[in-house]
């Protein structure tokens, strides 16, 4: 009998390792023939640890399972949740990027291939670089890290650049609060990331890749490092990728706790061993990136989506989505929600449906007050904006951004003045220091918000002005976008700033 117990960090944080050990112990004492497979998570974090037992009908789920439930689980007496594939949460999704996550053993390359893995890389190896780039361009894939730049166009620039060495850099510095898609796929299906990078390498004629992985993710680092060794052993990486005669190899590099290194140019500086200070553009990293060589810098999810595009075809992928947002988006539902986790679906779902239906509203049962989409630099959306469709342009039109598609929900106990203050404080802590509006402005922003909190209404105008300066005068999104959460809190939730104003009048 096969029993699946996730090894994902979120499952571990809720006790999955203890469950796996208890199942092993119990099976040995009963002399049962049981194989415990450590899979990734299916993304239903509210059910973790979600244990699955393989049956003739399919995989039956149990969760959340505690150590005390293990004897009953093996007796077949524990109440099941039914077939996992039939859960409404799973059935409602279109899983393309995450098709294997939670299904397979993350470090079993045979299992990976049996579920469609390496088909994309094989197809790419038989195509010309130009054809691969065209395929990715046709799919409409845009940078999933937040900027939304068309991936195929970036690749085309690197392909066209002449150099003795080119690089693929995978940005796995997923620092945005409310986001965990990168971590989840690196832990649950690391070969997808490796395959995506190898395809990128063949497409732009780069032979070397780096994954810049944040130090806050020790479990993901461990799994990715093991996966790279296995991929190299199996000939997926190396001098002769899958017998194509083409070379591509890669290394995992660990960050050191600086949020700003998620910005591509500071990431490159950090990877080179320097302070993670932002570089001004031009030159584009596509032309002068890592060590001054042409470099593709793509987010984990962008790269992990490339294999399915090559496997199923660009048009298949592009047929999902809305407007200029093509394909699927893995939304990460977080914060104060009943059903938190990862939900991959075609672009276009209204925000309200995500929050009220998919997430089931708040965990506390209190009304939703604000939803921050896109991490610490994303706007706070009020319920009035719940009809906004989940797409790049639609969110932009509402003064927000989808960023890395993290959705942090707050109930009515949230104080938006203190959330705005936190945004400025965070910017002050994490600023690389290059641009004055970010370095100094964020410190002044904290002080100005404290004045507003103490009832100084005149400080509101100053805050607006400061935010404009930060927006216009910062090189990267840290200083440039911190005004989003601050101003959206101020404009959409004036009551939280008003008592102070009234007190002053």
């Amino acid at each position: 009998m096969k029993i699946f117990v996730p090894l994902d960090s979120a499952a571990k944080a809720l006790g999955a390792d203890d469950i796996a050990a208890a199942i092993q112990r119990e099976a040995e004492s009963r002399d049962l023939d049981i194989t415990v497979v450590r899979n990734g998570t299916r993304g239903m974090i509210w059910l973790e640890p979600l244990v699955e037992i393989e049956t003739d009908e399919g995989r039956v789920g149990y969760g959340p399972v505690s150590v005390d439930d293990v004897p009953a689980l093996l007796d077949g007496k524990l109440q099941s949740l039914g077939l996992v594939d039939d859960f409404p949460w799973m059935k409602g999704q279109t899983r393309l990027t995450f098709q294997r996550c939670g299904v397979i053993d993350p470090l079993d390359l045979t299992d990976y291939e049996a579920h469609g893995g390496l088909a994309g890389l094989r197809r790419a190896a038989a195509m010309t670089p130009q054809e691969v780039v065209e395929e990715v361009t046709t799919s409409g894939l845009r940078g999933r890290g937040g900027a939304g730049f068309p991936t195929g166009i970036k690749w085309n620039t690197v392909l066209g650049a002449e150099a003795d060495q080119k690089y693929i850099v995978c940005n796995a510095d997923e620092g945005d609060s409310g986001t965990f898609a990168d971590r989840m796929i690196m832990e649950g299906d690391p070969f997808t990331v490796i395959e995506g990078m190898a395809i990128a390498g063949l497409a732009v004629k780069a032979t070397k890749g780096y994954v810049y992985l944040r130090s806050e993710y020790p479990d993901a680092i461990d799994i990715m490092e093991k996966a790279v060794v296995l991929a190299r052993k199996a000939g997926v990486l190396g001098d002769d990728v899958l017998g194509s005669g083409l070379a591509f190899d890669m290394e995992i590099r660990v960050g050191a706790g600086a949020y700003v290194c998620g910005e591509e140019t500071s990431l490159l500086n950090s990877l080179e061993g320097k302070r993670g200070v932002v570089r001004s553009k031009p030159p584009l990293p596509a032309l002068e990136g890592f060590l001054g060589k042409p470099t593709v810098v793509n987010n984990v999810i962008s790269l992990a989506t490339v294999p399915v595009i090559l496997e199923k075809g660009a048009q298949y992928y592009a047929d999902f989505g809305l407007g200029r947002s093509r394909g699927t988006i893995p939304m990460q539902i977080a914060g104060n929600v009943k059903y938190g986790g990862l939900y991959e679906t075609a672009f276009g779902m209204p925000l309200g449906e995500v929050v009220n239906t998919v997430a089931g509203g708040t965990l506390t049962g209190r009304p939703v007050k604000a939803v921050q989409v896109g991490g610490p630099l994303g706007a706070y959306m009020s319920a009035e904006k719940f009809d906004t469709q989940f797409c790049y342009e639609e969110f932009d039109g509402q003064g927000g951004l989808i960023g890395h598609a993290g959705i942090a929900v707050f109930d009515d106990s949230a104080d938006m003045l203190s959330m705005a203050r936190f945004a400025m404080e965070f910017c002050a802590i994490e600023s690389c220091g290059k641009c004055t509006p970010c370095r100094i402005g964020s410190v002044r922003g904290v002080e100005t918000l404290d004045r507003i909190g103490q009832g100084d209404a005149s400080a509101v105008e100053l805050l607006e002005d400061l935010c404009e300066t930060m927006k216009d005068g910062s090189l990267c999104a840290l200083g440039g976008f911190t005004p989003y959460p601050v101003l959206s809190a101020l404009h959409h939730f004036p009551d939280d700033f008003a008592p102070a104003k009234e007190a002053a009048e």
């Binding site: 965990f180 050191a256 080179e272 061993g273 942090a408």
Partner: protein
């Protein structure tokens, strides 16, 4: 001046990582894994090996939150301060930790057992408030769980 033991350890670390493309972060991580912090007397050794100035090495070390210039307590407890965890009570949890440990962020308890650090997202945003004790993740940390974690760490 580094003592003989330090010099030997550094020679091994530099031999292992020194020839990588962009070796500085791998070197510093290895140094911190070995000593628990970045000792002042290894800076010159790294600078000489990489043919850069002492100031440049210092600049890199001080830029990143991860690198310490002094040893931490026996256990490092990190509590997430980011928005998704705040939405489910991370601030109250931090306050509780300050009170229990008698220190603020980056502080170490008087008995040297626990260092408290803030962390901005552990990717456990759907099961917050989240914490990490010596690299081990913990989700849905309530007051009772925090007290237990701190007690286990010898606070």
């Amino acid at each position: 001046m580094a003592d003989t033991a330090t010099t030997e350890i550094m020679a091994a670390i530099l031999a292992e990582h020194g020839d990588l493309e962009g070796p500085m972060l791998p070197i510093l991580h290895a140094v911190q894994a070995e000593f628990g912090y970045i000792p002042n007397d290894v800076i010159q050794i790294i600078a000489d090996h990489q043919n850069i100035t002492r100031a440049e090495v210092h600049g890199v070390i001080t830029f990143y939150h991860d690198f310490r210039d002094a040893p931490a307590g026996k256990h490092v407890v990190k509590i997430c301060r980011a928005e998704a965890c705040q939405a489910v009570g991370a601030n109250a949890l931090s306050e509780r930790a300050f009170e229990k440990l008698g220190v603020n962020w980056h502080g170490t308890t008087r008995n040297g057992n626990v260092t408290l650090e803030p962390v901005y997202c552990l990717g456990l945003c759907a099961c917050g408030p989240a914490a990490m004790v010596d690299g081990k993740v913990v989700g849905r940390v309530d007051t009772a769980k925090l007290d237990q974690l701190l007690a286990e760490a010898g606070a």
